[in-house]
Subunit: 427 residues, 2 copies
């Protein structure tokens, strides 16, 4: 049996077994994604927690080795930009970062940086949760006045889903319309589909192949959990999400300059890609991208899971009518209220698990109003139905306004955003 | 110790050890590259045989599952083109094929096809052996009058060698000059560097990602022997060599048409790439490429190994002077002659292992003269020194003429060949 084990070991690793020694070159660079029994599961494809309050983000910061966005950092952003910090910062929705101090150092020394964010266009339908990184990125772009690149990973969706290349590209263009409808400035923003841009950029593929040379299968296995039966497209894809972190991927925008600092606002489930990128960057002579991480947007049914674009009742979609919004919230939004009005009046509701309240922290900008609602709900003064009504009245105009702006986004405007070109900055 | 082994097993495979069972999803799809003890080793990076006559090609045909180029097929090519078959066909230098009958069927029915060949630009220096596929491809292009695409896999060389992206691209351009000097028609030929073309083609990356979706790590492990410690660039590279087999990788040439038959002349060590390609093709709705396989060009020291661009004495380089050619052949060309003149006169020389005679089969076009030399050498009438003199007098003008043509290849001409464009064909 020992012989058979040794043989299996050799078949698997290609090396003779030596007691006590791990296989050579099989060091798993795990970067903290290993999960203990009672921990939340967070990677680019899965977010799972057993806690109704959602993922324990403080623990995640420790596990991922990132840094908390604390009051000092928020104050520094306010000083540097002269602007009141976005409510996503004030309320801990963007809660974690990597090297944001360095970005601010550079900014204060008049050194340029740029923003990079993205989206995997898995379907035509986007929900309000998908807006979070874009709303925040738009604010960052405005207060820092920097270029922004937005990657649509249609190739990723083609590789992962049962979908044609053509359909993935179509979704990318449709999603671009929703992103544009967030109000980005065409003179400062470049949106690209991988399937499209890879074939039009002199710099993108060169950076991809550089990353691909410096990451082994063992590493992506450790970071992303890929297996031997995964297709080679999935295995090499992380390099494609990594490459826009390097300014030379955009020669038209940065005039071929290689060393411009990148800042990536994204949900924390995307961090594994950028841990890998930051590991590779110095080895290919590039600066490490900085990151700002957001929490997950909860499903209507509760904060245990990330919202899903495939379940229409798990989310408020950007295409929903006012009536659908009202019905969904009233019917599906998990309540932190009590079972009877009497009990609710007596003991109060629980904002920490109430999805309507959570949604309001994302979308109700007025801090005082939010605090009033929290007090009233917690004390039992405000009933669940009344809280839901506030949310409905917040979401209906927000979604309607989005739909109105999206209608204005013509194919010509999409083409403008998606054309590789010089932006309104000098490099 | 058993526990420790089981733990290592689990770390490596991600699965619990079960006695006697190989890890799941680790089925090696080998496609015939598994080598018995006494067999020749042939893959894109290694050619090894213990036989002085060189690799046993009949056995290779059986192992790879290709078909022998027999007299019937050669006669059919002659009938179809109305041209005397190239001496590489007459002499078994191109000895194996896949689906060449289908290409001829299509040709006789006036259906279009195109040629695809390539080179990995591992250094600036090319040797005469590197010319073989290009000389033959040029002949094919002339007799069939079809478009030709030539891939320079500078990305592959960057991934495999200790080389910068810039250096790999420089070698690609230098190698392109030698290829152009073979006399290709600029109106019918497109030469491309992967590093360059991937960023300028609307179709190439789409085909690459399609291939990448349909090939697993298990498969490339079986076909190419990749391991878990190989970089993800190597692992996904086979898709990049596969994609030019599909006409939609060249929208400018084929007007976006997807279903045009491809014929690939190459040395047989490249077959693993195209076995993989042929396996994927029907699953992505593309025709399988047909192939014509050549034998390997022997090193001066003997036919046991493939020529190496890194050992200057193993080959005649395209940059060698007449004097260098003379010295190399006299000093290094392995002789099939006898130890003394007396013995040679009595028993005769052995053409089957004599490298000078082998080289003449490649480069001396005159069949009658070659037959005379063979008779005279075998009978002992012709001495090794005299045979070497014939080879020297064959190679000196051939290399000098190449150098003369290469001098005429300006950067402007290279640019013309390497610009994606419509060729002199209608699709």
């Amino acid at each position: 049996m020992l012989l058979s084990l040794k043989l299996s070991y050799k078949t698997t690793t290609g090396q003779d077994y030596q007691a006590g020694l791990p296989p050579k070159d099989l060091v798993l660079i795990n970067n903290g994604t290993t999960k203990e029994e009672d921990e939340d599961l967070v990677d680019p494809w899965n977010v799972q927690t057993s806690n109704a309050k959602g993922v324990d983000y403080d623990k995640l910061i420790v596990r991922f080795g990132s840094s908390k966005i604390d009051t000092d950092l928020i104050n520094r952003i306010e000083r540097a930009t002269g602007q009141k910090p976005h409510h996503f910062l004030r309320r801990g929705i963007f809660f974690s970062h990597r090297d944001m101090d360095q970005v601010l150092d550079a900014y204060e020394n008049k050194k340029p940086f740029y923003l990079y964010t993205g989206r995997g266009p898995s379907s035509q339908a986007m929900h309000v949760g998908h807006l979070i990184p874009f709303m925040f990125t738009k604010w960052l772009q405005e207060v820092f006045d920097v270029p922004l690149v937005i990657q649509l990973t249609d190739d990723e969706k083609y590789l992962w889903k049962d979908m044609t290349v053509e359909k993935a590209y179509e979704y990318a263009r449709e999603n671009a319309k929703d992103i544009i409808a967030c109000g980005f400035d065409v003179n400062k923003t470049f949106i690209f589909s991988d399937l499209d841009y890879l074939g039009t950029s002199a710099g993108f593929y060169k950076n991809i192949v550089k990353v691909q040379k410096h990451v082994t299968f063992n590493q992506v296995k450790g970071i992303f959990g890929f297996t031997d039966s995964d297709c080679i497209g999935k295995i090499s894809f992380p390099a494609i999400q990594a490459a826009p972190s390097f300014s030379s991927s955009f020669p038209q925008i940065f005039n071929g300059k290689e060393n411009i600092q990148c800042l990536i606002p994204c949900a924390i489930d995307q961090d594994p890609y950028f841990r890998m990128t930051r590991d590779v960057a110095p080895r290919i002579g590039q600066p490490k991208p900085a990151l700002l991480h957001s929490v997950f947007f909860p499903a209507l049914q509760g904060a245990q899971t990330k919202m899903s674009a495939s379940d229409p009742n798990s989310s408020i979609f950007l295409t929903d009518t006012p009536k659908q919004i009202k019905t969904k919230i009233n019917k599906h939004a998990f309540s932190g209220g009590r079972d009877t009005i009497e009990e609710h009046r007596k003991y109060g509701g629980n904002c920490e698990v109430d999805v309507s309240f959570m949604y309001l922290t994302f979308f109700l900008e007025d801090d005082d109003r939010l605090e009033q609602l929290k007090q009233a709900y917690t004390s039992g003064e405000l009933l669940t139905g009344e809280l839901k009504k506030v949310l409905i009245e917040t979401m209906q105009p927000l979604v309607a306004a989005h739909q109105e702006r999206r209608k204005q986004v013509t194919d010509e405007i999409v083409k403008q955003f998606m054309t590789p070109r010089k932006l309104a900055f000098e490099f």
